[in-house]
Symmetry: C2
Subunit: 407 residues, 2 copies
Amino acid sequence: MTRSPLAPAALPTLPDIAGVTRRVARARYKAWDRCDLTYVTLNEGTAVAGVLTQSKCPSPEVEWCRRALVLGKARALVVNAGNSNAFTGDRGRAAVEAIAARTAAHLGCAPSDVFVASTGVIGVPLPIHKAEAGLDAAFAAEPCSWEAAAETIMTTDTFAKVATTSAIVGGRQVELVGIVKGSGMIAPDMATMLGFVFTDAAVSPAFLQRALSAANTKTFSCITVDSDTSTSDTVLAFATGAAGNAELADEDDDGADAFVAALAELCMQLAHLVVRDGEGAQKLIAITVEGAESDRSAHVVAMSIANSPLVKTAVAGEDANWGRVVMAVGKAGEPAERDKLSIRFGTTQVAEHGLAVVGYDEAPVAAHLKGREVEIGVDLGLGDGRATVWTCDLTHGYISINADYRS
Amino acid sequence: MTRSPLAPAALPTLPDIAGVTRRVARARYKAWDRCDLTYVTLNEGTAVAGVLTQSKCPSPEVEWCRRALVLGKARALVVNAGNSNAFTGDRGRAAVEAIAARTAAHLGCAPSDVFVASTGVIGVPLPIHKAEAGLDAAFAAEPCSWEAAAETIMTTDTFAKVATTSAIVGGRQVELVGIVKGSGMIAPDMATMLGFVFTDAAVSPAFLQRALSAANTKTFSCITVDSDTSTSDTVLAFATGAAGNAELADEDDDGADAFVAALAELCMQLAHLVVRDGEGAQKLIAITVEGAESDRSAHVVAMSIANSPLVKTAVAGEDANWGRVVMAVGKAGEPAERDKLSIRFGTTQVAEHGLAVVGYDEAPVAAHLKGREVEIGVDLGLGDGRATVWTCDLTHGYISINADYRS
């Protein structure tokens, strides 16, 4: 798979997170010679929070995590790539339970301390013997880098996705590192396909959950590649507490604001990386809707534009076809008045008050569309509601990848 | 443009509809040498009904028709191809008014008796001088066939779309003929892009409206090519009354059932033709959802499947990737229980009770997917709700057409 042209030129330098150890192994879930099982151990006392797909047909991994999250603590994370184990009935549930049991026995913890996520084809039960052999290999493996873990969770991704931020909490510097994967079936309802955030901060599970949910709303929930919401979307955040700060448990605690901001920034980096590796993506598109009746309404309109095949193919063709933006605003079902609507591409206003700008010069817009990053701005002219979402263009590459992905 | 492989082998023989006369002319809305203005005259006393886009950014033609429909009578229809005149402000409104005024002066009727529809690029005011010159040419032209009118309303369509039915009403045979165009920006909220139905039956405007709205719900509202709802969607039905039957005005009138059924059958034929000419379409996909909590819920789930890029690319690739159907059911937001769900391709059950059928043999499914017509069936196992929708696959052809349509 050719590396996405939107991939970052270089990976950031990633700090170690005290209390987190990564290992990878070959479970050979598909006929490939690459690591596809990621095993992360977490020190005792690690808090966990998560956001999971709203799909009515979730994978057993998602159901497992949803139950385990209630307890708020974690000792391990196991991620399988190449098989999502979704829609596999009792055999799928048995596979998740076997993974949790084997890991718990190895670590001497409760199965509910083990979080499991899987990604890949739907409908094929995860083979338990492969998972168990892979786990045994991972237990015996040397620890590995963040980058190796980020590579191991990939499926159709063309580059490993990592991000880092830090914050000062209670006088101590805390570090955050995240890894994430895409790249199709991306219209996360509460989370992206699979994302994992690690920090050495001491944070109560409840506070971590509030911070993650808030971050998710502004980041993972604001991206879309193809409008298709996965059965397996999962974002988990783990806080080991090894930084030694006084535990964050309340929004008023010293450093809480900084931590919340750092977590949101990290999630934003990760979400953007997913879009940059959208299947077939050649351009990153940021869509900002202002002047809506509410932020929620602005988000719905922005997503209507971001999911429009006609808008996305126009951008792919570097065609300043702003009429398709009008169409997508019109179909969103949210309050809008054609004659108050204005639209810009980049910094160039192309339409306002229900028609093209007088003397509109397409040249700067055409130049903007030739770039890798495209901005579309819409002002509905009704109120103060505002939202920004990110997507990518729709190209022949998306068709090629998805017309023969499974085969 | 290559003719769609899903096009019918031959056009049906179309009866004349007494009271309806068609003419076409070259307005040259684009730099092409073809007729692009259709002018249809209707005898005095013709009743009219219509369903129009629910877009919040409708074209001035849609607004014009919405107002004129209140009066329920029609003397003429003018259709412009190559320019939708949407999002063009006062100049767009002026163009519609000029067309209605010139036609009314020619016919000696009220401007509100003239219905206008336009299709093509958004955001460019319809040039009034071209419309007027085109109208004058049409006024002077010889009457033409249904086929010529159906060809003249085309844009990216690859074949002319016509259909016919008949019914016995009050002891008299009444004829119905419809013409329609697609083929992108097709996810009609109340209607498809442009469709026109003509009958010689005598029908009151109110009854015609009820019959058309009912037909629309089961036909045009059940198709989607790309989930993008046009600013210009319009279906109008004209009843000249020339058949001489006692006017239908009530569901209990003699022949009312037959007329309603014939109109619905005609709309179904037209709707299927639109999907068969979906941009880039190689396969026609019928999706039936049963066992939903309500018919409405079944329709939402079916549309979620029909609009999923991953389902549509899987069908394009002839890949029996039923996991993507599970995904699309799960994301629809309607009541669904994974472990009650069953799925078939053609007549082959592939999954039931939340997992693949035991001993599932992919061979008959693979054979079914190689055909031009693909059936996907979903049983939610919850209730009696049922719906069928139609779409086409998502192919490289769609990308090619839409990445450089305007240029």
